[in-house]
Subunit: 189 residues, 2 copies
């Protein structure tokens, strides 16, 4: 659950990242920036800001923004119906991101899971992505990622995105963001 | 056919566009920028510069660069084997691009086909794309596009790209670029 005001504030913050990186988006897109807290209510630690450019039956493209040290929690994309799971390529555009996938555990990894959530992070092969670097994930691959100290912007090129089908290691996670509507009293002068 | 020196020069020019737009690419990618003259040998009029980020069996992402008033000639993406043709979304990142698709002819279109090639341009419904604007083409749709006076950078998000399967309206076009190797005499002092 995320309060509407916080949601709008974080949309604006995301826009600042796009501006810094020279990424132009339309007025309509500005309102469509998604702020995902994964239902944990700790957005600074576990969260992701994203703008979906296109998501057809065959192709999806998004920009992802992570604030400094913000973590997109461990998950995988399973088959949906009779379709193979989502294949995705992450391309770092700005900042730095640490991506973790199955494989040999990296000694002294640069990212730490959010406190108290350590048991929900099980893959530890580290891939450091700087601007211009990219990595392609095959369907079903467990992964998580965290921005460096300045935050990060990552372009995602993939097959169709079906967020509600994502399988997270942390059973408490709810991928679809719930907005807490606030009642504003009108001020009287 | 394009001379090797011209090819390298245009790669460098393409890189300047990426720099202006804040798009970071790796050293390896700099060498992989493709300069396509479509076999016509008139690159300033008919041509396209492109960098393929990823092209798997399911997903493709590229950056396209057009120099001022450069035209990507009319073509469509037919089915390949048992696969539906390529679906593609063009997103303008920098500059301006005029995209033409089937539909009601736009009066006073902003782009003109390269001289002497007018009969190879048959679709005239104009879509003007400025930074942040995008348009999705369904498989098999005839289309062509031309940059405005400053040139353009366009991100393309699509299904698998099989350039050699593209069908061009102009029968003289050869999509796969042929490089003319030059023999350099070593200067003796």
């Amino acid at each position: 659950m995320i309060a509407e005001k916080q949601y709008r504030d974080k949309q604006k913050k995301t826009l600042q990242y796009f501006k810094k990186a020279g990424i132009v988006i339309t007025e309509k897109e500005k309102k469509n920036i998604e702020v995902a807290d994964f239902g944990l209510g700790e957005l600074a630690e576990t969260g992701l800001e994203l703008l979906v450019y296109v998501n057809t039956d065959r192709v999806c493209a998004k920009e992802l923004v992570l604030f400094p040290r913000q973590t997109c929690p461990e998950h995988r994309h399973p088959p949906v119906g009779n379709k193979t799971g989502k294949e995705e390529t992450f391309r770092c555009r700005w900042g730095k991101v640490y991506l973790y996938v199955p494989g040999k555990k990296t000694p002294d990894p640069k990212a730490k899971p959010p406190k108290g959530k350590e048991n929900c992070y099980t893959v530890w092969h580290e891939i450091e992505l700087n601007p211009g670097d990219q990595y392609t994930l095959h369907p079903g691959t467990l992964h998580w990622f965290q921005a460096g100290n300045k935050g990060a912007i990552v372009s995602e090129f993939s097959t169709k995105s079906v967020d509600e089908a994502d399988v997270f290691t942390d059973p408490k996670i709810q991928r679809i963001t719930k907005l807490k509507k606030e009642h504003h009293e009108k001020e009287r002068h």
